[in-house]
């Protein structure tokens, strides 16, 4: 049984309510931080913890905090990114829905460290009911003196506001989020300037994911160094994984990043194996934007080593043979799934969610979607596969925000690893409408050349 830091108390009855949460040791980190640590010392603890952003990019949180500009007389903001719209990712929802006070607690400590007296939670519009849960938690925290003016007599003031988005994936990109929060159209901004210098209303701003900010609570409680001892290498602490697809036990799991991918999929503690006794074909291990891997490369790296559920191991081999931890949306495909169809579904998503500002993403995502649909429907040509490859290459790296890359990577990875399945669709225009390509060689052991 791995260490649990975030979901340890998730199953305590009524943990959603303040009294229960407090009785279980909640809000200790606020007391500790505000009474015994300076804001910079809190940041120092987060740095020591090695905590990496849980929103997708994995940027070290402490480092991000220390980049925050602190000009005299200018307010600073902390914004919590709860837009969680990446297909396959639903961990923040679980956290906010079941232990909202953990997030509020983390937000108060983080606001103190960053000097943010007005802190915002920007939440995905479809999470309408969670807004009520959060607002109730905020009201309870305020009634008990954890928010408002002069918190714990330290002179620190803080209010937390919840803002609902209007249903756009792009508003999860941090600068689009800030635009939207300011009441504008959610177009990503051109960087630089970065939010740390010019963010919300032109003021220095830190944007962090829900899980990142919740993890600040155990970090302060146990100390950054202790936290860093959990996990391996630069993958410290625990990570929430939302697992879905053809597995026996879909759900949100907290792992300490020391377990192997194989254990995560097959052990009863986690996914409980592939449903209906089927075989594993492929997996998108970190949310829809990260490269898909065939079973053989998922469980073992190209070097033949066991692949683990952590940042370094999942990305071992780069994009050629590896993937990414991403936002922790773990999507499992069994032998009956069609990679072409799956790729089409993702391409359709990105086409629909592009903000449309820059030409490669606006036009390229739609083009890829159309080609994928025709291949899926048995109307594709061999040259379409190369064309797809060329289109994704011309989008990647040439856009304003990473959504362009996120749209390109799944297509690139699918062609890289499953090219024969695409070709089979082209060569069997009728059969591909009624049959599946199946598992084929995708789970076969990969020949590892001896060094």
């Amino acid at each position: 049984m791995g260490v649990k830091l975030l979901l340890e108390k998730a199953h305590v009855e009524n943990i959603r309510l303040y009294d229960v949460y407090r009785r279980e040791g909640g809000y200790r980190s606020v007391e500790k931080a505000l009474k015994t640590l300076s804001p910079d010392q809190v940041t120092e603890e987060v740095k020591k913890s090695g905590l990496r952003g849980r929103g997708g990019a994995g940027f070290p949180a402490g480092m991000k905090w220390s980049f925050l500009a602190k000009p005299e007389g200018v307010p600073r903001y902390l914004v919590c990114n709860a837009d969680e719209s990446e297909p396959g990712t639903f961990k923040d929802r679980y956290l906010m829905e079941f232990i909202p006070h953990l997030l509020i607690e983390g937000l108060i400590v983080s606001s103190y460290a960053l000097g943010s007296s007005r802190t915002y939670i920007y939440i995905r519009g479809e999470y309408a009911w969670i807004v009520d849960i959060l607002e109730q938690a905020i009201a309870e925290a305020k009634n008990n003196g954890w928010l408002g003016k002069n918190i714990l007599g330290t002179g620190f003031d803080c209010e937390i506001y919840v803002q609902r988005g209007a249903g756009a994936y792009i508003c999860g990109e941090e600068t689009a989020l800030l635009e939207s929060l300011e009441g504008k159209r959610g177009n990503p901004r051109i960087k630089p300037p970065f939010p740390a210098v010019k963010g919300l209303y032109g003021c220095p701003t830190v944007v962090n994911n829900v899980e990142t900010l919740a993890a600040v609570v155990p970090i302060i409680n146990m100390g950054g160094e202790e936290y860093a001892k959990i996990g391996v290498g630069r993958s410290t602490g625990t990570k929430l994984i939302s697992a879905c697809g053809n597995i026996n036990k879909p759900g949100v799991y907290e792992i300490d990043m020391t377990i192997s991918v194989e254990e995560f999929i097959y052990s009863d503690e986690y996914c409980g194996g592939i449903r209906n006794g089927k075989r594993l074909k492929a997996c998108i291990p970190g949310g829809s934007s990260v490269p898909i891997l065939p079973a053989n490369l998922l469980l073992k790296t190209a070097k033949g080593e066991t692949r683990y559920m952590n940042y370094e191991s999942l990305s071992d081999g780069g994009f050629a043979t590896g993937s990414m931890m991403g936002s922790g949306g773990f999507i499992v495909l069994d032998e009956d799934q069609c990679v072409v169809k799956n790729t089409y579904t993702l391409a359709r998503f990105y086409r629909h969610e592009s903000c449309g500002q820059c030409s490669p993403c606006r036009e390229g995502t739609g083009w890829m979607e159309k080609i994928l649909l025709s291949i899926e429907n048995g109307k594709g040509k061999m040259s379409d596969i190369d064309l797809l490859w060329d289109i994704q290459r011309k989008i990647e790296g040439n856009t304003i925000c990473p959504l362009g890359d996120a749209a390109a990577w799944p297509v690139a990875a699918a062609i890289r690893h499953f090219r024969d399945e695409f070709e089979w669709h082209v060569l069997n225009p009728d059969k591909c409408l009624t049959e599946n390509y199946g598992l084929r060689h995708y789970a076969d052991p990969i020949h590892v050349p001896v060094a």
Binding site: H352, S359, R362, E363, G366, W367, K394
Partner: protein, 370 residues
């Protein structure tokens, strides 16, 4: 001792130039001029916050600065990236840039209707120029192109969204030049559209300028629609006393008839500064209501680049001389022809070349240039 302003040295395609800190790579390249200037479809120097969107101006930064000479990991939008001292930039010298730009042009064209034969913008369309210079000859796109309904934005302006490249210039114009913005982008992605919420009239005095900033034929002048091809009309500079705007315009004429009135543009197709120094935006009255030559004081023929199709057909009495170059060169076509006239301004400005019967003679040129 007055403190001397420190200038930044930047090298673009092996040409080094000194510019003030805060200058973008694109504007530094414009200072050099010629082929090293990246094409810009969305950036507009007169509009704050414009640029960064179309991605045609991508360049490679081979060295960030003298202090940090590392190359930048991705191509950058030259219109929104400022130079650093010692920066080395590659535009036409980088195959990666050429490749990416070709990709961008292709993306801009896949959903474009290519209806140039019936488009009023043809001849002065930046997308046409861009695709001639950087595009491929054929398309790899085999699907239906996106279409939108045409909209009238008030009595003077027509929006043909199907042609729009979403450069946002008109949005910035509506935002910055008119005092109340009722014009913006609705929806997102490939279904985004320029709109005036619920077909609202655009009746601000300065809204007509959106026509001038639009690089394509998405926003056109309804008073000129289908009246003429721009290359059959003759642009002249003219002015009038106007209490709303600078009154300095370009008239597009045929004989004595004024077909169209626009602001005056520079070599990058941007509205020039007026003689008073500020951007020469013109008001709707000057643009749409003053269609008689007698409304205007005509200053003379506008300077149009010889390479523009608009300079064609301006010489009614012209007798085309025989092409002798090929003959002289033993059957080889000329490799390079240089146009010295637009640079040297050798002809006398008071002589209207279009009125001369036949080729110009020595008496038509400035004697001190000879």
């Amino acid at each position: 001792m007055a403190e001397e302003k420190k200038l930044f040295k930047v090298t673009i395609d092996n040409i080094t130039i000194e510019v003030e800190p805060g200058t973008s790579i694109l504007n530094a390249a414009r200072k050099i001029g010629g082929d090293v200037v990246p094409p810009a479809m969305c950036y507009y120097s007169k509009l704050k916050d414009s640029g960064g969107k179309c991605r045609t101006c991508l360049v490679r930064v081979a060295a960030g600065s003298t202090a940090d000479p590392r190359p930048m990991p991705k191509l950058v939008a030259s219109c929104r990236t400022n130079v650093m001292d010692g920066m080395i930039v590659e535009n036409i010298t980088s195959p990666a840039v050429q490749e990416a730009r070709k990709g961008v042009v292709e993306f801009l064209l896949i959903n474009h209707p290519l209806d140039c034969p019936i488009c009023d913008q043809a001849g002065e369309c930046h997308l046409q120029d861009l695709s001639y210079e950087h595009g491929a000859e054929s398309t790899r796109y085999e699907f239906n192109r996106r279409t939108f309904k045409k909209h009238d934005l008030g009595p003077y302006i027509q929006l043909h969204m199907t042609r729009c490249i979403l450069c946002y210039r008109c949005v910035f114009t509506a935002d910055q030049v008119t005092n109340k913005r009722v014009h913006g982008v609705l929806d997102r992605g490939d279904h985004s559209e320029i709109a005036t919420y619920i077909e609202k009239n655009l009746n601000n005095d300065f809204i007509g300028n959106v026509i001038d900033v639009c690089p394509v034929g998405a926003l056109t002048d309804k008073t000129f629609r289908f009246k003429n091809r721009v290359w059959f009309t003759k642009p002249v500079d003219a002015h009038r006393n106007c209490d709303k705007c600078c009154g300095e315009v370009q008239l597009w004429m045929r004989g004595d008839e004024v077909f169209r009135v626009t602001a005056r543009k520079d070599e990058y197709g941007e509205i020039k500064d007026s003689s008073k120094g500020s951007t020469g935006w013109i008001c709707n009255e000057c643009r749409f209501e003053k269609k008689n030559a007698s409304d205007w004081v005509i200053e003379g023929l506008s300077n149009i680049s010889r390479h523009s199709v608009i300079s064609q057909g301006k010489y009614p009495g012209l007798v085309k001389p025989n092409e002798t170059v090929v003959e002289v060169m033993n059957g080889h076509a000329p490799r390079l022809m240089m146009n010295i006239h637009s640079v040297s301004e050798v002809n006398k400005p008071e002589i209207e070349l279009s009125k001369i019967a036949g080729p110009a003679h020595s008496s038509d040129f400035n004697s001190n240039n000879a």
